[in-house]
């Protein structure tokens, strides 16, 4: 089975490292970056299935990064990390094509579940496209 490739974008280095560790142990291939620009760059260099994206970041913020990601890699699913105070930004993210959002402080089990669902959806989506292409 293919290992799901995850790009984690969060400016909190400690949080990003922890999540990286935890998800890696749960069988994911995770790369963590700390800002939107690095995320876009890394996305150009490597292929990913799911992006975990923090909304509140210095420099390029979550929404801008999300737009850029969806433009470049529309198939990549995005799970948004958001605080309670910015539920609206989570909703906005979903309107822009994000898969779902997880409220901080995130329980690793919840996050795991969401990432799993996102990955499932990506697989289904890929399958659908493949079938469409072969159908033609």
């Amino acid at each position: 089975m293919k290992i799901p490739r995850i790009l984690l974008v969060d400016d909190e280095v400690a949080f990003a490292n922890n999540v990286l560790k935890l998800l890696s142990k749960r069988g994911y291939d995770v790369i963590a970056v700390n800002d939107g620009e690095s995320a876009i760059r890394t996305l150009g260099e490597k292929e990913f299935d799911v992006v975990i994206l923090d909304m509140k970041m210095p420099g390029m913020d979550g929404i801008a990064t999300l737009k850029e990601i969806k433009e470049k890699e529309p198939l990549v699913e995005v799970v948004i990390l958001t605080g309670h105070g910015t539920v609206e930004s989570g909703i906005e993210g979903m309107q822009l094509g994000a898969f779902d959002f997880v409220m901080k402080p995130a329980n690793i089990a919840d996050l795991h579940e969401k990432v799993c669902q996102a990955y499932q959806r990506k697989l289904i989506e890929e399958e659908r496209i493949k079938q469409q292409e072969s159908g033609r």
Partner: protein, 596 residues
């Protein structure tokens, strides 16, 4: 009996900021004073001007009247004396001395002279030696010699002489007119005494009211007639001769306070000098009588002034009172709004702060949570670990989890309190909604010995509101009511609804029979983080969240409480939430869990 009442929506305790009653009574006095100044100053100015002008004018008029009277009277007296002198001259120049010195002839002439009135008392012919040649009259003067008398010498010198009043041989006050005729070296004199009574009546017939008097006096100040009040004929006149230094004059005589003999009322006096004889004619009258009309007018004006004063005073008091009432009402309104604004801005800034704090705390919490998971994972993977150590460690880690969840709950509450949370409006059937809540809470209530009593208005219409926020409000209030019964074996929580068609909303009352709220806590109870519950039991946000929710939905909360008896929350909710809440309806609230 109510111990205290705190209304945030309507706000009482007004006026305290402005110094209360004192402030208004000061303002009242100031306004009355200013109004009085503004209205009285022109009144006094106009009144004073009119008074000055009118009294000057009246005084001039009265003085002119006196002047004309005295002049007119002088004319009459002089005319009389001239006519009598002419009478005598006519007789002496048309009759020979021989004819006149015969008594019957003289009597005939005397009678003719007195035909038009009793002007003369007697008539006599006197030769140049001063001997009486003939005499007609009531006195026995025949044979008297006048050569030594002053008048004889004067008439011999001047030809015509009018004497002052004197006693003479007859020993009664009288005066005489004597004329001289010279023919060659022969001289004779026709002499007549004027009827004193007639003359006096002539002089004194000027009637000047009750206190007026007229008299004549000679150059030495000896009275020539008897005044009505001051002195008798031949006596010294009451006024010093020096007073009459001008040919004619008018003036006001003031009493001399230092001289007890000179006490008389204030008088107006007019005088003029006669040409021949040099007598002065004096007319005087008490000032108060002469100026009676003026004084009367002044008194009337004074009464009018006082009446105006009274009217102005009453009007200014009434108008000021009205003004103060209006100002007070405005102030109260302003204070009420101010208080509401203060409360709202306090909550708003606290909301901002709480939202910021909550958000910042979320990040470290997220790290702690993941860190916790990392430890868990590591422990799970480490072989040969003591079981009891593992158990202890996991217990501690669970505790860390639980405490992070607790922090999470607090930040959630904080964020809910902040205004960032948007309302989700739905049609709410409040009665059914409240019954649901009561059902939800009944289990816990029973355990505490608390009963619910609901009195719901059956005709209450369904209306637009935010059910999830309302649920929070009522859960908060009921939880507080539970806590207020802490230590009591039983109690009641009553909930009632009444639709108020006038205010277009519903009035909800949540009352408990708990411990009540002390007056000092009453003021702070809606403030965020204020709690009377033990540490760890309450965040102090419940009521402030409830308050901000109700205010956001366009309603208000007030509370009445009495220590030991219970607390009553009165809520009002409008049937239509405010426009700004309704505008947010477009931002459809998406439940994150429903989309998963």
């Amino acid at each position: 009996m109510k111990l205290g009442s705190e209304t945030i929506g309507n706000g009482d305790q007004i006026g305290g900021e402005r110094g209360g009653k004192n402030h208004y009574s000061r303002l009242y006095r100031k306004f009355v004073f200013l109004t009085l100044i503004c209205s009285l100053a022109p009144l006094f100015l106009v009144g004073w001007g009119i008074y000055i002008y009118y009294s000057g004018f009246s005084r001039m008029r009265i003085e002119n009247y006196f002047k004309s009277q005295v002049e007119h009277h002088r004319g009459i007296i002089e005319l009389f004396l001239r006519e009598r002198t002419s009478d005598l001259q006519l007789v002496i120049f048309t009759h020979s001395p021989d004819y006149l010195q015969k008594t019957p002839n003289l009597r005939r002439v005397f009678n003719v002279m007195n035909r038009e009135g009793c002007f003369f008392t007697d008539l006599g012919i006197i030769d140049d030696q001063g001997r009486h040649l003939a005499y007609v009259g009531p006195y026995d003067l025949m044979g008297k010699n006048y050569s030594k008398t002053f008048w004889f010498k004067e008439v011999m010198k001047k030809g015509v002489y009018i004497s002052d009043m004197f006693m003479g041989f007859r020993n009664a006050p009288h005066f005489i007119i004597a004329v001289l005729r010279t023919e060659g070296n022969r001289k004779w004199i026709l002499r007549a005494s004027i009827d004193t009574e007639y003359f006096r009546s002539l002089v004194e017939n000027v009637k000047m009211g009750r206190t007026g008097e007229v008299y004549l006096s000679n150059r030495e100040g000896i009275l020539q007639t008897t005044p009505r009040f001051s002195g008798k004929i031949m006596e010294k006149a009451p006024l010093p001769a020096a007073f009459f230094h001008k040919e004619s004059g008018i003036g006001i005589l003031e009493t001399d306070r230092d001289d007890p003999n000179q006490q008389f009322p204030r008088q107006i006096i007019a005088y003029t000098w006669l040409q021949n004889p040099r007598w002065k004619l004096v007319i005087k009258q008490d000032y108060s009588e002469a100026f009676r009309d003026v004084n009367h007018a002044n008194r009337a004006a004074l009464i009018f002034l006082h009446l105006s004063l009274l009217v102005i005073l009453i009007i200014s008091v009434i108008s000021t009172r009205y003004m103060i009432k209006v100002i007070k009402k405005r102030d109260e309104e302003a204070d009420r709004l101010n208080k509401q604004l203060t409360q709202a801005s306090k909550l708003a800034s606290l909301g901002e702060l709480s939202a910021g704090v909550a958000h910042e705390i979320n990040n470290p919490l997220a790290i702690i949570l993941t860190e916790n998971q990392v430890i868990r994972d590591s422990v799970e993977e480490t072989p040969n670990l003591d079981d009891s150590f593992k158990t202890e460690l996991f217990t501690s880690l669970s505790q860390v989890d639980a405490q992070v969840q607790r922090c999470n709950l607090i930040t959630q509450n904080l964020l809910r309190f902040s205004r960032r949370t948007k309302s989700r409006l739905e049609t709410v059937n409040l009665n059914a909604f409240l019954e649901e809540i009561i059902q939800l809470m009944e289990g816990r209530a029973k355990g505490m010995g608390i009963q619910f009593s609901a009195d719901l208005d059956k005709d209450l219409p369904a209306f637009l509101s935010d059910p999830s926020q309302l649920q929070q409000v009522f859960l908060n209030l009921i939880t507080n009511a539970f806590d207020a019964h802490d230590g009591k074996p039983y109690g009641t929580i009553s909930i009632s609804t009444r639709s108020n068609n006038q205010r277009e909303g519903v009035e909800i009352v949540v009352a408990d029979t708990g411990s009540g709220i002390s007056p000092e806590n009453m003021e702070k109870m809606f403030d965020p983080f204020f709690t009377t519950k033990p540490v760890g039991k309450g965040t102090g946000l419940g009521l402030s969240i409830s308050y901000s929710i109700i205010r956001r939905l366009g309603g208000d909360i007030s509370v009445q409480s009495e220590i030991g008896k219970g607390t009553q929350f009165n809520l009002f909710l409008p049937f239509m939430p405010p426009a700004d809440v309704q505008e947010n309806l477009d931002d459809v609230f998406i439940n994150p869990h429903s989309s998963a």
